[in-house]
């Protein structure tokens, strides 16, 4: 938006100078109207009691934020979101690292494996969600059947229909969908590392795992942290998987901040309080991102 007005103010006869800015007008308009303005508008709404049901629309200051701090549903969703973010990011990073190290080796059929790894990434999340619904179905799910046949469980488990297992099932689905992508990111990072370094370490008598731990891992640190950060930010806003698989249930045991905000907005039509929830989420994410960024910069500074 801002860029647009600057460009328009330039005098006509000097328009060749304005060309670079004119070319940026469309993206500025697009991001301004669909991202920047709504974020600010959401911040404004979060200070109002706007509701499409009661038709109220007044400024109430920080009242909503006060309500939020005492809202059990919010803290419940907040806990689930943190658990989901932490566990799924950790699993995806560790398993992804393993997959990347494997794919780094030369072997026949490597490109086939790499292609297969793009399948979970390309699949719509809604389809993943439904697919896991079928795999983990409490009555006829193939996962129960496999576990029963292997003697690992005695009775069918009602995976996403029970309070104890629902969040775990969602984490498994997310790990399935996202780990291969993580692996490909880390693989790209591995490939930028000079192979002669590991070779030299080997010559000096280092074992394979030592070469990994003391040579490759430190050099991969920045890729690992950045990939982890992006993954964590993405996991923090998990919506599709939860909404389609459990809808936040059973008994709110899988409610996350995104699904709670969505329901507050579109089921109870409280746009004021719903915006407070989503703005609180935005602020939390910004803090995580900045904190992580500072950590990354420090780590990299120390490495050098």
């Amino acid at each position: 938006m801002r860029l647009g007005t600057v460009a328009a103010r330039k005098p006509r006869n000097r328009w060749p100078d304005a060309t670079p800015w004119l070319l940026l007008v469309p993206i500025a308009v697009s991001l301004g109207t669909v991202s920047v303005y709504p974020i600010l508008n959401g911040l404004w709404l979060s200070l109002r009691n706007t509701s499409l049901v009661s038709q109220q629309d007044d400024f109430v200051g920080l009242l909503n934020y006060g309500v939020l701090l005492g809202d059990d549903a919010f803290w419940n969703a907040w806990r689930h979101t943190l658990v989901f973010t932490f566990v799924s990011t950790a699993l995806e990073t560790v398993i992804g690292m393993g997959m990347a190290l494997l794919l780094f080796e030369q072997f026949t059929g490597r490109s086939l494996i790499r292609a297969a790894m793009l399948v979970p990434w390309a699949m719509p999340t809604v389809v993943t969600s439904k697919m896991f619904g079928w795999l983990f179905d409490g009555q006829h799910g193939v996962v129960n059947w496999l576990l029963l046949s292997a003697g690992l469980i005695r009775d069918n488990i009602n995976w996403y229909g029970s309070v104890d297992h629902a969040l775990g099932t969602i984490i498994v689905a997310d790990v399935w969908k996202t780990t291969p992508f993580m692996a490909l990111l880390l693989l790209a990072g591995l490939q930028t590392i000079d192979g002669s370094l590991t070779e030299a370490a080997r010559m000096d008598g280092a074992k394979t795992w030592q070469a990994f731990l003391y040579v490759r891992l430190p050099m991969l640190w920045s890729t690992l942290l950045i990939a982890g950060l992006f993954r964590a930010l993405d996991a923090f806003r998990v919506f599709d998987l939860v909404y389609v698989l459990t809808g936040g249930g059973p008994a709110d045991s899988t409610e996350t901040l995104s699904t709670l905000s969505y329901k507050t907005l579109f089921s109870t039509l409280q746009f004021g309080y719903g915006s407070t929830l989503s703005t609180a989420m935005f602020i939390t994410e910004a803090i995580i991102a900045v904190g992580f960024a500072v950590f990354i910069v420090r780590q990299l500074g120390r490495a050098r």
Binding site: P120, W134, L265
Partner: protein, 279 residues
């Protein structure tokens, strides 16, 4: 001798690991494929059968004839197609301006564009819904396309910027010597040279729009404008979950994506990893 034995066990380990990754990545979808051809009796049997016999096309028939799935598919093609075109056009202009023309604040602008893409979408959906409602844009392709273009632009611009940066500056000089203007440089030189990057990033934008769920759920309420993810999410019957129908629909929407991705896999991996590795 010791060295050779070590490589043999290493080979076995690599083989086992590779098989595990293959099964992990492909098995769930293959099971979905098999499910889509099995009748409901086989699906609810005590022992699941992995090969559909007798096979049936009932689920595919239900999906298209009874649930009008082709309408969702058409809607998704329109929305994702338009999104891709606009993303490429706007993204190419922005990347060209930032990469080839002398803009002093280019890195500041790039970082701004990237940080805008970090905004959580749940924080945008409420205000955008109210705006769309006020403008009478609910239940239109327009609202979806406008939203998806903005969501896709940061990645498109970033990847194209990286690609444009690889062209030598002499190219611009030569074009100017030939009397080609700024816009001509973009349209007649840079864009044709960037075909591989445009295809990759266009595919990424297309897949993102094709798969998007939350905005489509919020903005559309009838089958005339709903996209595939919303259609599949609503696939429930009153008394039971039609797993076979869901599997058939899943195969229909996922198979084209998988074929596209397999065809372009090398480009996609390069495009996707560019940001994280260079950063």
């Amino acid at each position: 001798m010791i060295g050779r034995r070590r490589t043999a066990s290493r080979q076995a380990l690599i083989f086992a690991g590779a098989t595990a990754i293959l099964v992990w990545s492909a098995a769930p979808f293959i099971w979905q494929l098999s499910t889509s051809f099995q009748d409901d009796k086989a699906l609810t049997a005590a022992t699941p059968s992995f090969w559909p016999s007798p096979g049936t096309l009932d689920h595919y028939y239900n999906v298209f004839a009874a649930k009008h799935f082709q309408l969702y598919v058409l809607n998704s093609i329109i929305v994702a197609g338009l999104t891709t075109l606009f993303c490429l056009a706007i993204g190419a202009m922005a990347a060209f301006s930032l990469s080839r023309l002398r803009i002093k604040q280019r890195f500041g602008i790039l970082i701004t564009i990237l940080s805008v893409s970090m905004f959580p979408q749940i924080a945008l959906v409420g205000p955008l819904y109210l705006i769309a409602a006020n403008l009478g844009l609910l239940d239109t392709f327009t609202s979806l396309v406008i939203t998806y273009v903005a969501l896709g632009l940061p990645l498109v611009t970033w990847v194209l910027f990286g690609y444009f940066e690889t062209f030598p500056r002499e190219l611009d000089e030569a074009a100017r010597m030939d009397g080609i203007g700024t816009i001509g440089l973009l349209v007649r030189i840079i864009v044709p040279l960037s075909a591989p990057a445009l295809v990759t990033v266009g595919l990424l934008a297309f897949i993102a729009a094709w798969n998007e769920f939350m905005f489509a759920l919020a903005f559309t309420s009838n089958i005339e404008h709903q996209t595939i993810p919303v259609g599949i999410a609503n696939f429930t019957n009153l008394y039971y979950v039609p797993w076979g129908d869901i599997a058939a629909a899943s195969v229909v929407v996922t198979l084209p994506l998988i074929l596209l991705v397999l065809f372009f896999q090398r480009h996609i991996i390069e495009g996707l990893t560019q940001g994280a590795v260079k950063g």
